[in-house]
């Protein structure tokens, strides 16, 4: 019993002793396109918050839905009022894990990664998987990813009159420049 406890102690202490390198950004860009041939619909948000752990690959995003800027004021209003109901569901979030095998944060370079996790939009949580790229240069890491989001998966209903103008699947793009979290 003594031995086991001791082993556990040593294991945990040694695990905790490894400096957990974490990276963060508060100015990540998340944009999406959901237009069709009839209508250009695109928006971007330049204040996404994201943190990832370089040791475990744990990755999280949080973004304010109201922070998405559209070219057209009315589209932005409809996006918030009718589709995303952003007063009710102010945040969109992602929690997941990156597969960091073979990536060295000490060595500059461009590494492909796969990301798996839960995307929470409009109060609905859904598993997603995507691939992306991590570009390590010195103490900063740039993360780029693109993935489709099926609008109906998140309980967002599109009325008949505008059904032809809004794509069924939005293409979401992520571009974040991370710095070391101290």
């Amino acid at each position: 019993m003594k031995k086991t406890a001791l082993t556990i102690c040593i294991l945990i202490v040694s695990a905790a002793a490894v400096p957990a390198q974490r990276y963060f950004t508060k100015t990540g860009t998340i944009s999406f396109e959901a237009g069709t041939a009839l209508e250009d619909i695109e928006a971007s948000n330049k204040s996404a918050t994201s943190v990832f752990d370089a040791a475990t690959g744990q990755l999280e995003f949080a973004v304010l839905v109201k922070g998405f800027e559209f070219r057209r004021a009315l589209m932005q209003e409809h996006f918030n009022e009718n589709y995303m109901e952003s007063s009710k569901y102010p945040k969109a979030a992602f929690k997941g894990r990156m597969n960091l095998q073979g990536i060295s944060f000490q060595k500059p370079g461009s590494y492909p990664v796969t990301v798996k996790g839960t995307l929470e939009l409009h109060g609905v949580k859904k598993e997603i998987t995507t691939t992306g790229t991590l570009k390590v240069s010195g103490s900063t890491v740039q993360a780029i990813a693109k993935f489709p989001v099926t609008i109906s998966d998140y309980n967002i209903s599109i009325p008949g009159v505008v059904r032809d103008k809004i794509a069924k699947t939005a293409l979401v793009a992520v571009n974040c420049n991370y710095s070391v979290l101290k």
């Binding site: 019993m1 003594k2 406890a5 001791l6 556990i8 102690c9 945990i12 202490v13 905790a16 974490r22 963060f24 508060k26 860009t29 944009s31 396109e33 250009d40 695109e42 971007s44 204040s47 996404a48 918050t49 994201s50 943190v51 990832f52 752990d53 744990q58 999280e60 995003f61 949080a62 973004v63 304010l64 109201k66 922070g67 070219r71 057209r72 004021a73 009315l74 932005q76 209003e77 918030n80 009022e81 009718n82 007063s87 102010p90 945040k91 979030a93 691939t131 992306g132 790229t133 780029i144 990813a145 693109k146 009325p159 009159v161 505008v162 103008k165 293409l171 793009a173 571009n175 979290l181």
Partner: protein
């Protein structure tokens, strides 16, 4: 053994907890402490007749076609008023997020009107200095271009002019309910009735109750405080529905006012709800985004 257990509890347990912390919580998570503007208090930049605390957005042209039909109590012979129509065509343009200018022309009195609308304070949540209300200032004028009677004594341009200014204080209380108050001052250089004052003061109240995502019940009332002969003039009351489709907002309503600018509906309303002298009317608003398209290329992966 005892010590070990104690050590485990004291030092190790918090460490295990630490491993489970929300990563995003390590940095100030998005939104907490940041000021967020409250938008969408009303569907349109007008409640019905009067201005609302809403703005149309920068570089947006709002083309507005307004109709007020005849009195409903005129009966079937006039198709409940639909045989007659008074109309205002208006163009509003958003110079900025908080600044709009607009012009309009009404068939009643061949009246040309223009206004400037500015929002110094916008309702917001979170963060320091977030205002619980929006404050909007509107100033405008109206010019009658209809010919005066041949025996009219005052016929110069200044006699055709009227001005108005108002302060709107409004709040979106809940997602569904918004309310605003708008003290208004109207100055007419020439009044029709000798019993009227050149200066009219009114207090406007406007509200919205959202019924569904696209339909809202709206009401708009102006209480005339002073300046008008109360036996002749009535306070304008309009009630109706906002119906929103893609880029349009239809506002269907019943009102005792025919005027479609502040001067006209505050000082020229003679019909009374009590006598059934109400009219059907609609506001149709279509917005166009003017200006160059800002391309936001999605980065390569």
């Amino acid at each position: 053994m005892k010590y070990l257990a104690a050590a485990f509890l004291l030092f190790i347990a918090p460490l295990i907890r630490a491993q489970e912390t929300d990563l995003i919580g390590l940095v100030d998570s998005a939104g907490s402490g940041t000021k967020t503007a409250i938008t969408g208090a009303f569907k349109s930049s007008r409640v019905i007749n009067g201005h609302s605390i809403e703005f149309i957005g920068k570089k947006v042209l709002d083309v507005r076609i307004l109709h007020r039909f005849g009195r409903v109590n005129d009966g079937i012979g006039e198709l409940f008023g639909l045989d007659q129509a008074s109309m205002r065509m208006g163009f509003d343009y958003g110079l900025g997020k908080n600044l709009t200018i607009g012009v309009g022309r009404s068939t009643a009195g061949k009246e040309l009107d223009g206004f400037i609308k500015y929002r110094p304070v916008q309702q917001a949540t979170g963060g320091k200095g977030a205002s619980p209300v929006s404050v909007v200032l509107v100033a405008g004028s109206a010019l009658t271009t209809a010919k005066f009677a041949e025996d009219a004594r005052f016929t110069s341009t200044k006699h055709r002019l009227a001005y108005y200014s108002e302060v709107i204080v409004g709040r979106k209380f809940t997602e569904a309910f918004s309310l605003q108050l708008s003290p208004t001052y109207v100055h007419r250089n020439l009044v029709i009735e000798p019993t009227d004052d050149n200066d009219t003061y009114a207090l406007g109240i406007g509200g919205r109750l959202k019924i569904s995502k696209r339909v809202a019940f709206v009401a708009d009332y102006q209480y005339v405080i002073s300046g008008l002969n109360k036996d002749l003039y009535k306070n304008p009351l309009s009630v109706g529905f906002d119906i929103e489709t893609g880029g349009h907002v239809f506002q269907l309503h019943f009102s005792n006012a025919t005027g479609m600018n502040e001067k006209a509906f505050i000082t020229n309303t003679t019909d009374s709800w009590g006598s059934g002298e109400i009219r059907f009317g609609f506001n149709l608003s279509r917005v166009f985004t003017i200006g160059k398209k800002k391309s936001k290329p999605i980065p390569e992966s």
